[in-house]
């Protein structure tokens, strides 16, 4: 019992060490115990038994990026709503008005993307 914050730090350190140590130990044990052999086919990519014809790194449709960005924004909006929902009863109507205003701002953005056609996959 040195002091509360240092205690917490020690506890966190122990947890981190045990977690990392366990992961490393498991990897080390399986590396030592498992048999292994080397052959040229083990190092190439798997493509149902034939040699791979091309790389998987190639240009992808940019629409995937747009959908991903929109997901992040609306997901974070949902994340903000969780603590608000829990604390709403104590705080009262001020919080209600504030959240409605927040949702209204994001709704403007939602209408913009809708009209711009981002939701329609070509």
């Amino acid at each position: 019992m040195i002091s509360p914050s240092v205690d917490l730090l020690i506890q966190f350190g122990v947890m981190f060490a045990v977690g990392a140590g366990m992961g490393l130990a498991l990897m080390f044990i399986s590396h030592v115990l498992a048999p292994g052999s080397v052959n040229p086919n083990k190092s190439i990519a798997y493509e149902c038994g034939v040699l791979p014809t091309e790389d998987a790194r190639k240009p992808w449709n940019v629409h995937f990026y747009l959908v991903g960005v929109l997901f992040v924004i609306f997901d974070l909006e949902a994340v903000f709503m969780y603590p608000w929902a829990v604390a709403l009863r104590e705080v009262g109507s001020v919080a209600l008005g504030g959240m409605f205003f927040f949702i209204f701002l994001l709704l403007v953005g939602f209408f913009y993307e809708w009209k711009k056609g981002v939701l329609r996959w070509e």
């Binding site: 115990l33 048999p35 292994g36 052999s37 080397v38 086919n41 798997y46 038994g49 034939v50």
Partner: protein
């Protein structure tokens, strides 16, 4: 446990027994079906003769996640290099079960396009004859395979070349 019997490793015998015991209960074969015997293999995986009792219902589509291969059906010359490549891509330790007469010896297809038994290409641990073998016969073969896994006995070791590479001379 000599070099000829198993894959060389640094594991003491008791630990090897424990590992073999564990491996025998979750042998995940590669999802690999060549011809009619695969229907019987699928029937063995069905509800009546359940492969899930042995932990084998998880037939992996990727060889990286598999523990071995069940080879049902004849292997044509066009498929032969692919069988070898898939076998080599499975990480050790691995076991092979040749199911059906075509995988054992080519059966009636003694022709220009069928490999006369996959043990001309890859080392085989258990042979299950039949055309096709009934699910009970395959079950018997899988029991034999699980015994071999429990004892950590292999048909090959990592230092020798598989028959296909012997033939090619690499």
């Amino acid at each position: 446990m000599g070099v000829a019997d198993g894959v060389p490793g640094v594991v003491p015998a008791n630990l090897e027994k424990l590992l073999g015991f564990g491996r025998s209960f979750s042998f995940w074969p590669l999802l690999f079906g060549l011809a009619c015997c695969s229907i019987e293999m699928m029937a063995t995986a069905g509800p009546r003769y359940d492969l899930s009792r042995f932990g084998m219902e998880a037939m992996r589509a990727s060889p990286r996640q598999a523990d071995g291969m069940i080879v049902p059906g004849w292997c044509t010359v066009k498929m032969a290099p692919r069988v070898v490549r898939l076998y080599e891509q499975i990480p050790d330790p691995k076991w092979v079960l040749a199911m059906g007469s075509c995988a054992i010896s080519g059966n009636i297809w003694n022709t220009y396009h069928v490999v006369q038994g996959i043990d001309a290409l890859i080392p085989v641990d258990v042979y299950v004859p039949g055309c096709p073998p009934r699910p009970e016969a395959l079950w018997d073969g899988l029991e034999m395979l699980r015994e071999r896994i429990k004892q950590s006995r292999h048909a090959y070791d990592g230092l020798q070349r598989i028959p296909a590479r012997e033939i090619v001379g690499e």
